[in-house]
């Protein structure tokens, strides 16, 4: 590692894919060396001349040739990232953070719940799980977006189903295409917030672990629902987000009470946060 932990490494944009009107996925490759990371970890991406922002890896941790981030356009860096073209150079620092604790839960069922751009780290998680599919019990994905056009990774859900993941999709507000069920084989033409998908699946809290990522309100309702279903607080993992600058536990920006999301997170056991006022 460089002696200057603020200095990014250079990476080339190999490919830009438009996932939805709001989200693009960048495929990146380091100019030197390889990026090794765990599902759930994140990087700091520099668009030179604009700034730096944190994004979770959305690709498989087993692919060491290149890596991907999926970026929703919401501000200055994300805006500039959406204008990048293949062949351009960006800066990356990382990997940072803890990632999902998969080793601990081998043999169990997993339910993965994502909302909005929160699906990005969960896609990386799914790739990690299907690569070792036989190590786990039932795998269920519950994913919701505001509208059908905002569902991302559209051409991948079927493939995940083929690899043994039960995929359930929903949208807050449907439209013509959704009603006709374009995702026929791989899920539902369901309308409703993501927690309504819990009514369609059978979970056994005794042998199941939940991984959740999404906007604060979605996390709040999902946790509530999981607790009602009998999940213990130590079987619920949340990937959280806070304002970040350094990624190193020094700038002080990303704390939730005594925890730094950049170092102690971004994945937290709900058990750790259950007595914290307003964790999400």
């Amino acid at each position: 590692m460089s002696l200057n932990p603020y200095l990014p490494r250079l990476a080339e944009v190999l490919e830009v894919k438009e996932e939805s009107p709001e989200v693009k996925t960048l495929k990146l490759k380091l100019k030197e060396g390889r990026m090794e990371f765990k599902a759930g970890q994140f990087l700091e991406l520099t668009v030179f001349g604009v700034g730096e922002a944190p994004f979770t890896f959305s690709s498989s941790p087993f692919n060491l040739e290149s890596f991907e981030v999926s970026i929703a356009k919401v501000g200055s860096v994300t805006d500039a990232a959406h204008q990048l073209k293949g062949g351009e150079l960006v800066g990356v620092r990382g990997p940072f953070g803890n990632g999902f604790p998969l080793e601990e839960h081998k043999g169990r069922d997993l339910v993965i719940v994502g909302g909005g751009i929160g699906i990005a780290p969960l896609r990386s998680l799914l790739y990690a799980l299907v690569a070792e599919r036989s190590e786990y019990g039932d795998l269920k994905l519950l994913y919701g977006a505001r509208s059908p056009s905002l569902i991302i990774y559209k051409d991948e859900w079927e493939k995940f189903m083929e690899k043994g993941v039960e995929v359930y999709l929903t949208v807050d507000v449907g439209d013509e295409t959704w009603r006709r069920g374009p995702y026929g084989p791989c899920g539902y033409t369901h309308v409703g917030v993501v927690t309504t998908l819990f009514d369609m699946v059978k979970l056994n809290p005794e042998r199941c672990v939940a991984f959740v990522c999404g906007p604060p309100i979605m996390i709040r309702f999902t946790v509530q629902r999981l607790l009602q279903l009998g999940f213990s607080a130590s079987r619920i993992y949340l990937s959280l987000e806070r304002m970040m600058k350094c990624g190193l536990g020094k700038c002080g920006h990303c704390n939730i009470e005594g925890y730094y999301v950049c170092k102690d997170g971004p994945v937290f056991q709900f058990e750790t946060l259950k007595d914290v006022p307003h964790p999400f």
Partner: protein
């Protein structure tokens, strides 16, 4: 860990002395020779010291020279914290040059040459140790590290604690025991000077002719003065620090009503370390800087879509108090406050951290 590496020189030095049963090089310097010593130092080094600019107001840090030597203030601690010499308000992290399909990155870790900070109290030294825990934790901040390794520290026993001082309540003593290159203790007619590192020893050696050996009486006097100041601070407080992790958010409302969000407390605090990072660009040249920041500012945790987990001033003020007395301790095993009282002195709303901590 790196924090240890940094102090290891000083610790090793003390250990060797103890092992060889050598008494530390304590010397005496009288008031007149001290003037001479400081004058010569200020010619060979850049010496930054507390200077009385406005009588009746706390001194501020300024470069010592022949003209202001008479206004050097060694009794009252300066309002300016020493942290800015290690963690400047703005600092460049790297630069870049953009070409076609090319980015050149560069950075320079500058090494401060011949800089002496004079007048640090034990609270200031301990505050630097706390900053070390954050900034030198792996991966260490190389800009901070270079300054810590190169700047010489000449500290002082406290002889006149400010009314707002409460170092004893956060477990500190009002006199330094480690972490300095040279420490000065007031005694009758002059100062006892004690080296705390090889570089401190070299300083004493270089100006040998100005010093004399200390006498038993002087050491005894120093210890008595130290004890008296310790007692003076200690006896001002009768209640222990309250466990702020157990109080509700409404506990802080009384302070919030008086807060004008100026962040004076943050900027004068010797342990507040938070910073912002941003980019600048001029045509094909650009760079990234880190700048001073404050958790009291409204936007400190606001994210892109506008969500702000600490939107209320009360939640931000609570954050600052808990950072000092709860979170820092959880993370690094000790309070994040050194009891220097600077925030008490500077606050226009008369918010008193001692009151928040339950001490008064």
């Amino acid at each position: 860990m790196c924090v240890e590496k940094l102090n290891i020189g000083k610790k090793l030095y003390n250990l060797c002395l103890a092992y060889l049963k050598i008494k530390k090089g304590t010397m005496f310097i009288n008031d007149e020779s001290l003037r001479e010593f400081l004058l010569m130092l200020s010619k060979q080094f850049t010496v930054v010291a507390p200077i009385m600019e406005t009588p009746g107001k706390p001194p501020i840090l300024s470069q010592l020279n022949q003209a202001n030597l008479s206004r050097l203030e060694l009794k009252v601690r300066p309002l300016t914290p020493y942290k800015f010499f290690f963690q400047p308000p703005s600092e460049e992290l790297f630069t870049y040059k953009l070409g076609r399909k090319l980015v050149e990155l560069g950075y320079e870790v500058k090494k401060p040459e011949n800089l002496i900070l004079l007048g640090l109290r034990n609270c200031d030294l301990k505050a630097l140790e706390k900053l070390d825990m954050v900034m030198l934790e792996e991966p260490a901040d190389p800009f901070y590290k270079s300054k810590r390794e190169n700047i010489l520290l000449v500290s002082l026993d406290c002889s006149e604690p400010c009314p707002a001082c409460f170092c004893t309540e956060v477990g500190l003593k009002p006199y330094p025991e480690e972490g300095y290159d040279l420490n000065l203790s007031r005694v009758e007619g002059g100062y006892l000077a004690e080296a705390g590192s090889r570089r401190g020893e070299e300083l004493l050696k270089r100006f040998e002719s100005l010093f004399t050996g200390e006498s038993e009486g002087q050491l005894k006097q120093r210890d008595e003065r130290r004890e008296a100041v310790y007692r003076k601070v200690k006896e001002a407080y009768t209640k222990p620090i309250r466990d702020l992790s157990k109080v509700g958010e409404e506990y802080f409302m009384d302070f919030t009503r008086r807060c004008v969000e100026c962040s004076g407390c943050v900027f004068t605090c010797p342990t507040c370390h938070c910073f912002y990072i941003s980019d600048y660009r001029r045509r094909e040249l650009g760079g990234r800087i880190k700048t001073i920041d404050s958790c009291l500012f409204e936007g400190f945790q606001r994210v892109a879509a506008g969500v702000n987990p600490r939107a209320t001033l009360n939640s931000r003020l609570r954050q600052r108090f808990l950072k000092k007395f709860v979170y820092f301790k959880q993370r690094y095993g000790e309070y994040g406050c050194v009891g220097c009282g600077r925030c008490v002195e500077v606050c226009p709303g008369e918010i008193d951290i001692r009151e928040a901590a339950g001490l008064i």
